[in-house]
Each structure stands twice: as structure tokens, then as C-alpha cells.
């Protein structure tokens, strides 16, 4: 190994890339505060003066929240199942990892084939006589949330699975042998100990969901715009970089406002759980 001061030279490529990234970030923030003749909040005032933009911001946060909640509710039992699975564990893990690694556009295309008015699900429903007219599963928020849950679920499952891997199974057994009922042992032992995984899964899913573009563009309707789709439109249809920059800063800010308390909670909890396990 190179030793001494020359070791620090190895940091140069990373510092170069990170400097460029930071430069881009700084430029973004600078543009969003540029009023044309000085520094000001004009573009932010302009954003919040438009009720349709504000609605869109709320819709983005609500869709991200709904996706996160659904992912926790169905991801937690799945992660638990995989962690306890003895026989075909790697097969089930593969069923989580493989879809996770396939490009978002490919998966979205699959959902279009499945959910469209002439898609497989509606064709089957009509064929079985369950419905006369196709049920709208796409070009609305239902389609968007289905697509987003599909993208985020593997992140959530893997995050919770990591927490289960650190969990000592004997603890729950001990609680039960001391007279705790299964539900009690779950609520008082297993859930708190796996909570750090849930929290980090939630942060990651929420953050990535606020910034999606492809899914709402392809599976959502015209009135289901999110911050990401609006940024796309500002750039490609209106050609307004400053407006897009303002929205990008707001998007990042929302992420920070939600994530910082979550991270703080996670840190507290993992400290607690480590203390409990020690």
C-alpha cells in the first residue's frame, strides 16, 4: 500500500467528480435566486402564487407518502418471510432483486401492457364477464402508485431484510418463553429492533419517489402531474431552466425536511436497539 501523504493523492478523482457535482448544485441554487437584476425570492414567490403548482407539490408529497406506506405494509411481512425462509431463500431473494435491477422503462412498459384499457387484466375481466366496460387502471393515480410501488418495494424489502439479518432470533424466543404472547413479542421485541431498517427504507423510498418522472408521465393522466413531470415540461416544452431550477430546489428541500427528522429517529432507535441487544 502506498503510505504517508501520497495516499491522499488517491482521493483526487473522487474530489474532481464531487467538485463538479457541487458546482452543478451551486449553479442550480444560484439560478433559482436570480431575479434578473440581483438576488431575490421572486421565482419562489412566483411558484407559490400559482395554485396549480402548489397543488402539484402536495400531490407529489401525497403520492410519495402513499407509496412509502404501501411499501412498508407489504414489504415488512415479505422481508420477514425471506429472513425466516430456509429452503428456497435465494430463489425468493432473486424474485426481489431481479425486478429491482430491470430498467424502469421496461417495467413501466410491462404495466402498460397489463393495466391498459385493452390490457391483459381488463381483457380477462371482460372475458370472464366480471365487468362490461374496462376499469380505468391507467392514466390515473392508481396506475402511478402501482408503478411506483413496484419500483420502490425491492428497496424497502432489502432495507428491512438487512435489519432482520442483524436481529437475534433468540430474543423473540426468550420473550415468548418468559410468557409474552406472539403479538406482544412482535410488538415489544421484533418491531422495535427492526425499526431502523424500516426507517431507512422509508427515507430512501420517499426521496426517490418525490423525484420520479417516467412513471407519472407514462402511467398517469394529464391532470396527475408531479414535480418531476412539471420539471420535465419546463425543460422540454417551456425551455425555462430557471423555473425548473426553482422546482428542483424545492423538491430537494422537501426531501431534506422530511428526511432529517426520520434520520434522527433512526439513529435514536438503532442506538436503543443496540443497547437492548447488548
Amino acid at each position: 500500500m502506498p503510505t504517508g501523504r501520497s495516499l491522499y493523492l488517491a482521493l483526487l478523482p473522487a474530489i474532481l467528480l464531487l467538485t463538479l457535482l457541487t458546482f452543478g448544485l451551486a449553479k442550480l441554487i444560484a439560478v433559482s435566486f436570480d431575479t434578473g437584476h440581483g438576488i431575490g425570492l421572486a421565482s419562489y414567490v412566483g411558484f407559490f402564487a400559482r395554485p396549480d403548482y402548489v397543488r402539484m407539490l402536495w400531490r407529489t408529497l401525497l403520492v410519495a407518502l402513499a407509496t412509502t406506506v404501501i411499501c412498508v405494509l407489504i414489504g415488512y411481512p415479505t422481508a420477514w418471510f425471506i429472513s425466516r425462509c430456509q429452503a428456497h431463500r435465494s430463489l425468493f431473494l432473486l424474485l426481489v432483486i431481479l425486478p429491482w435491477l430491470v430498467s424502469v422503462v421496461v417495467r413501466t412498459y410491462g404495466w402498460i401492457v397489463l393495466l391498459g384499457n385493452k390490457g391483459l387484466i381488463n381483457n380477462l375481466l371482460v372475458l370472464m364477464g366480471a365487468t362490461q366496460r374496462p376499469i380505468p387502471l391507467m392514466f390515473n393515480l392508481v396506475g402511478v402508485i402501482i408503478g411506483l410501488v413496484h419500483i420502490s418495494l425491492p428497496f424497502m424489502i432489502l432495507a428491512i431484510l438487512a435489519a432482520f439479518r442483524h436481529l437475534d432470533g433468540a430474543l423473540a424466543e426468550a420473550a415468548m418463553s418468559l410468557g409474552a404472547r406472539p403479538w406482544q413479542s412482535f410488538r415489544r421485541v421484533i418491531l422495535p429492533l427492526t425499526m431502523p431498517g424500516v426507517m431507512s427504507g422509508c427515507s430512501l423510498v420517499f426521496l426517490s419517489t418525490t423525484g420520479v418522472i417516467v412513471t407519472p408521465l407514462l402511467l398517469g393522466g394529464l391532470r396527475d402531474g408531479m414535480m418531476g413531470t412539471q420539471i420535465y415540461q419546463e425543460m422540454f416544452i417551456v425551455f425555462s431552466y430557471p423555473k425548473a431550477a426553482t422546482m428542483a430546489v424545492l423538491l430537494a428541500l422537501c426531501g431534506v425536511l422530511v428526511i432529517v427528522p426520520l434520520q434522527w429517529l433512526e439513529r435514536r432507535m438503532s442506538r436503543h436497539s443496540r443497547a437492548a441487544q447488548a
Partner: protein, 276 residues
């Protein structure tokens, strides 16, 4: 302990139908005569694959994506490897900050990151060029390369390096014959992760492609949005195939579980897990 959540069995079963569903459907539809999934899906045909193979635009996009993913993943892994060597061994003012910045592309909303990258490339006039895409993809894949590498380097037994050096081995000989073989799983995991992420990326990339250059996922996106080119099914199936091959490669070299654990998914803050 038995799982006693209400309704958990149907939920887990539904998840394992839900996750592969769109991918299975894409592959099935690609073999249908119309390019969509009709009922019944006969007659089967390979016409969209044949159409794909004679379309130079699609083939060009495939070539660009493969080349971009390969070069970007290599650059990203080299950068992350060098950084991990330093950050795992030394603590200095700002070392924690650099570690956090390396993970930033993972947690920064991609729509916002796209605007950042547009601004960055505009400053250099590099929008719509291969070099520009390469720079952006190298930055985007950094967390995926760094995470497994910092884990490997941290768990590296430094006694081995010291033993080699005390026996008179030169630093670079130690690096080549001792350190690198020991962190091989991290290197391979990092590279494959970075490769797949770059090969799949669409949200940021679609802001940066131009008339001269486009990547496969971006081209698929536009094809879905504009017309419904039935070749999309065949091309998508090829992407699935590339992904399956990469995952099989991973399973041969490192355990799948290890791969999953390093997916940048278990905690948003790096390095903590690696200390454990």
C-alpha cells in the same frame, strides 16, 4: 417465532406475483404476432426480434448504452476504489463529508438531479455528447460502486498488508498481490451494480441525450410515449436478458445476499453498517 401478522400469507404470496408480473408480461408480449398481449396469444412469432436486428437506430442505441455503462462503471469503480482506500484508513477533517457526498446521488431526487446535471453540462457545452453522458453516469453510479468497496476495504485485514511490507514487498506489489485480491468481491459487486444502474438509467439521462446520441432506455421511453412501436417489447426483453446474465454472474462470484446487502438500500447513511 411464528409469523402471526393477520393476512400475512396472502400478502407475501401476492408480492411474489406482483414483482415478476410486468417482466414476465413484457417477455410474453414480445413473442406475440401483434406485439401486444392478445388473448389468446397465438400465433407466436419472432418478427419483432427480426425487425429489431435490422433497425440500425435501435442497434446504435444498444451499442451506446453498453459502451457507456462499461466505461462509466469502470471510471466509477476506480474512483470509488481510490477513495475507499483513503477513507477507510484515514480520518481527517472533511473525510466524513466526502463519504456523505459520495452517497448523495442515491438519495437526491432524480428529477432535481437531472436539472443539476443539465446546468453542469451546459457550462461545458457538453450536452448531447458521449463525454457528457459519461461524466454524469460516473457521478450517478458512484454510490453503488463506493458502498460495497468501502465495506470490503474496511473489513480488510491490514495485518496482511503489513506482513507483506515487512517482508520487503513494495507498496504497489502489496496492492496488486494482497489488497486487491482480498477486496475482489467488493470490486465485482461494485462494478456490476454500477454497470446495471448506468445501463438502466433514464430519468436523468433523458435530459442529456441529443440528436446525435441516445441511450437504449431513453429511446424506449420515447418510443412508448410517441407511438407504440412493437419493437419495444423485443428490445425490453433483451434488457431483461442482460440483467439476468449480470445477476447470474453475481451469483457465481459473490453470494446474492451479499449483493443485496450492498445495494445501497439498507441505510441511507453510508459506512455505519460497514463498521458493524
Amino acid at each position: 417465532m411464528r409469523l402471526r401478522l393477520p393476512l400475512w400469507q396472502p400478502v407475501v404470496a401476492a408480492v411474489f406475483v406482483f414483482l415478476p408480473a410486468p417482466i414476465v408480461i413484457v417477455i410474453a408480449a414480445s413473442f406475440s404476432h401483434t406485439g401486444y398481449l392478445d388473448l389468446p396469444p397465438w400465433p407466436l412469432s419472432l418478427r419483432w426480434y427480426i425487425a429489431l436486428l435490422s433497425d440500425t437506430e435501435w442497434l446504435g442505441a444498444i451499442g451506446t448504452s453498453l459502451a457507456l455503462a462499461f466505461v462509466a462503471a469502470s471510471a466509477s469503480v476506480l474512483t470509488a476504489l481510490c477513495a475507499a482506500q483513503v477513507l477507510a484508513r484515514r480520518r481527517f477533517t472533511g473525510s466524513h463529508f466526502i463519504g456523505l457526498l459520495l452517497m448523495l446521488p442515491l438519495v437526491f431526487p432524480h428529477a432535481a438531479l437531472a436539472v443539476v446535471m443539465v446546468g453542469l453540462l451546459m457550462s461545458f457545452g457538453a450536452g448531447g455528447t458521449f463525454a457528457g453522458l459519461l461524466l454524469v453516469h460516473a457521478i450517478l453510479t458512484l454510490p453503488y460502486a463506493y458502498r460495497p468497496l468501502i465495506g470490503s476495504v474496511m473489513s480488510l485485514d491490514t495485518d496482511m498488508e503489513e506482513a507483506a511490507m515487512s517482508l520487503g514487498a513494495r507498496p504497489f506489489y502489496v496492492l496488486r498481490r494482497v489488497s486487491l485480491p482480498l477486496i475482489r468481491p467488493g470490486l465485482i459487486t461494485g462494478f456490476l451494480f454500477a454497470f446495471i444502474v448506468s445501463f438502466d438509467e433514464v430519468t436523468v439521462t433523458m435530459f442529456l441525450t441529443g440528436p446525435d446520441i441516445t441511450t437504449l432506455p431513453v429511446k424506449i421511453f420515447h418510443a412508448i410515449q410517441e407511438t407504440s412501436d412493437p419493437v419495444v417489447g423485443a428490445v425490453s426483453s433483451l434488457i431483461v436478458l442482460v440483467t439476468i446474465l449480470a445477476v447470474m454472474l453475481v451469483q457465481r462470484v459473490v453470494r446474492l445476499e451479499q449483493f443485496a446487502g450492498h445495494g445501497g438500500s439498507d441505510t441511507a447513511v453510508p459506512a455505519r453498517r460497514s463498521h458493524a
